[in-house]
């Protein structure tokens, strides 16, 4: 985590050209450039700036967005800190990810179990083909197909999800339905295939044979005997996909103009707003690492053999 923060910082600081010059434009005098650099602390060596940033990060002080500062200098209404800028966006993205996860995880696990139950039937083959196609198409293809069918041809959901604060929950849900569905399609496929594979892998085990010989129904064999043992790989895949949700969200947010952190990231990358870019990158990386860690812990918890080491 620490090393990742260094990598991000160094990478961002490799951005040539300097924000001070960018603010002042063509007619910048050397004195004014120096002045702004001093204000922003850009005149200090890189190592000093890095530790300033890191300490700030740990105290949730993400610094001031350069762009906002610029705005304030030219008579705007006070500068906004990066934290203030990111917080609502982050909560929007989290909302989207939560909605998606609520739809995708139960759906994927159920479908995976059904596919394992009715393996090698028409249902399994159709599901296999469908999921393979939806894994391998780019997100924006899915997004536009959904817009075409659910927003343009049959106006069920709005195709632009402009969410603002103070919106009632139901409306918010409706507006973020299309991006959530797009992400669901992308994520469900992978989870479902892994669930199916994990369960089928176990079907050759002796205890499954035993359960079958006891005369249990196939559904019961799979849910009661195979599923608990397949839990660890399934949890792993779910966590991986949730991590993907947080990052894959960038493209989807751009398609639907959803005011989430992904869009903020793309926008600030374009205007070279260093503090915001750094903060976004770090948030993404942190989410990614945390989810992977959670997956490891959960898969240990779900397995009694690992829970009680000899």
């Amino acid at each position: 985590m620490f090393v990742v923060s260094i990598v991000i910082f160094v990478a961002v600081n490799l951005l040539p050209g300097d924000f001070a010059e960018a603010i002042l434009g063509q007619g910048a005098t050397p004195e004014s450039v120096a002045k702004i650099r001093q204000d922003l602390g850009l005149d200090q060596p890189m190592v000093v700036r890095y530790f300033d940033w890191l300490v700030g990060m740990l105290t949730f002080d993400l610094g001031t967005s350069f762009a906002q500062l610029n705005f304030a200098n030219f008579g705007g209404a006070g500068s906004v800190t990066v934290a203030e800028q990111i917080a609502p966006r982050l909560s929007n993205t989290m909302f989207l990810a939560t909605v998606t996860a609520c739809i995708a995880v139960p759906l994927a696990v159920t479908l995976g179990i059904l596919a394992a139950l009715y393996r090698n039937t028409a249902f399994d083959k159709a599901a296999n083909m469908f999921t393979l196609s939806s894994i391998s198409s780019p997100e924006f293809f899915m997004a536009y197909i959904l817009i075409l069918f659910l927003a343009v041809l049959n106006p069920i959901f709005p195709s632009l999800s402009n969410i603002f604060e103070g919106m009632p929950f139901s409306e918010r849900l409706e507006k973020s339905m299309l991006p959530a569905l797009t992400l669901t399609l992308v994520v469900t496929a992978h989870m479902m295939r892994m669930t199916r594979a994990a369960i089928i892998n176990l079907l050759a085990s002796p205890y499954i044979e035993m359960a079958r010989l006891k005369g249990l129904s196939p559904m019961r064999v799979i849910v009661k005997h195979a599923l608990p043992n397949a839990l660890a790989p399934i949890i792993n895949v779910i966590a991986l996909n949730l991590a993907y949700l947080i990052t894959g969200v960038v493209v989807v947010e751009v398609v639907f103009v959803y005011p989430g952190i992904g869009q903020l990231f793309v926008d600030s990358v374009k205007i070279r707003d260093i503090p915001v870019v750094q903060a976004c990158c770090l948030i993404f990386a942190a989410a990614y690492i945390l989810l992977n860690l959670t997956a490891d812990i959960l898969s240990i918890v779900s397995n009694p053999r690992l829970r009680h080491p000899k």
Binding site: I8, R119, S133, P138, F140, L153, T247, V251
Partner: protein
């Protein structure tokens, strides 16, 4: 609310239908084992499938144009989808049939064991390769050539704002979309291919090196790769691309070269992981020991001993990696930092043409143009995935 009611009624109807179907089956066949032992879920599956088929047939033969003169876009799209699916299936079948008839004994055998999906995948890959290589010959116009008319509708029907000269219409500044699609194959697929090769070269050689030498080099490389992998790849690529775009301006080197390098490096971390894992299993083999005792050099060990034995997993990974690289490039272009404008590229085309999709209800042909570019991307990745799936299935010998 009525939609929910409708859904509930259909569901109840299907459940009853399933029950009746099973009961009827038992009565008609004199309690044959198939019906006697049929679970309710299975019966429901049969009835549901049949209902879906009936509905699809009914919907397929709906009139194309409503009474009011507005085209019934849903039906039009549905017909295209069904026709496309049937044509693809027939093409794959014919291709497989031809493969079984001509060629050497080895290829005939290969084709005989091939599922239809894999045949389809191979066919699509061959078509893409041909189009990509001969783009300049096939395309009617140049990729950056600005023709007279802008915003010509697709379909070539003058009554609907089309033009027979441009079968798929032209874009906002009057470039022929068909030509750009064809050149897009060359640019997008070509660049993705080069990038994947580069990623495999970097990741593969470093991975094998780490596996062979081990010690501090292995530690250093592996920890470095861990750090790089901790940052989500698309985010990292976006970040680096932004930096590179400024450099590219200053140094006058095309941005595309930077993109190839950046994505290759990011993806090579994944290749490195695989190559190292496979390599570690191989270096403990006796023949490596023998080669070491013979006094062979490092290059010989890596390229003559380890590489041939690691070929199979690496090839499968190559297909998957190609898909990822291809999708990453498309996503970057879509976000506006990938392949740059004068070159035709599918990702950029989708973004530029996306507004057309809102006209779908009035003019189905107009809405199709952005989907064509996106569909071209999807089709290739699906095809590659089908083939890789089949290869893995074949090599692992999985039967279940």
């Amino acid at each position: 609310m009525s939609g929910l009611m409708f859904f509930a009624i259909v569901l109840i109807g299907l459940l009853i239908g399933a029950y009746v179907f099973r009961l009827g089956g038992q009565a008609v066949t004199g309690n044959a084992p198939k019906f006697r032992d049929m679970s309710f879920g299975e019966a429901f599956g049969f009835v549901f499938g049949a209902a879906l088929l009936v509905w699809a047939l009914y919907y397929y033969f709906q009139p194309k144009v409503l009474d009011t003169g507005v085209p019934n876009a849903g039906v039009v799209f549905f017909r295209w989808a069904v026709q496309g699916f049937i044509i693809a299936a027939i093409a794959a079948f014919v291709f497989r049939f031809l493969g079984r008839m001509v060629g050497t004994e080895g290829t005939k055998k290969l084709f005989r064991s091939m599922p239809l999906t894999a045949a389809f995948g191979i066919l699509v890959i061959i078509i893409y390769a041909v189009v990509a290589v001969f783009a300049g010959v096939i395309a009617p116009y140049g990729q950056a050539e600005i023709l007279g008319a802008a915003n010509v509708m697709a379909g070539g029907d003058p009554a609907l704002g089309g033009n027979p000269d441009y079968p798929l219409g032209t874009d906002q500044i009057g470039r022929d979309i068909l030509s750009r699609l064809i050149f897009g194959a060359q640019n997008t697929v070509g660049i993705a291919f080069i990038t994947t090769c580069l990623a495999f070269f970097i990741g593969g050689s470093l991975g094998f090196l780490a596996a062979t030498l081990q010690g501090w080099l292995d530690q250093l490389l592996s920890r470095g790769v861990d750090v790089l992998m901790a940052i989500p790849s698309l985010i990292f690529a976006l970040l680096l691309m932004t930096i590179a775009s400024v450099w590219a301006n200053e140094l006058g080197i095309p941005l595309t070269i930077f993109m190839v390098l950046i994505i290759a490096v990011i993806d090579s971390t994944r290749v490195y992981r695989l190559a190292r894992a496979v390599g570690l299993n191989i270096v403990v083999m006796d023949y490596i020991e023998a080669a070491k005792l013979r006094g062979e050099g490092l290059g010989y060990l890596v390229f003559k001993e380890i590489l041939p034995n690691a070929m199979a997993p690496l090839l499968a990974e190559f297909g998957l990696r190609f898909c990822f690289v291809f999708l990453t490039i498309a996503a970057l272009s879509f976000l506006g930092v990938g392949i740059q404008p004068p070159l035709a590229d599918w990702g950029t085309m989708v973004r530029d043409l996306a507004p057309f999709i809102n006209f779908a209800a009035f003019a189905p042909t107009a809405a199709v143009t952005p989907l064509l570019a996106a569909g071209a991307i999807a089709l290739l990745t699906v095809a590659v995935n089908f083939v890789v799936d089949w290869m893995l299935h074949k090599s692992s010998g999985l039967k279940e």
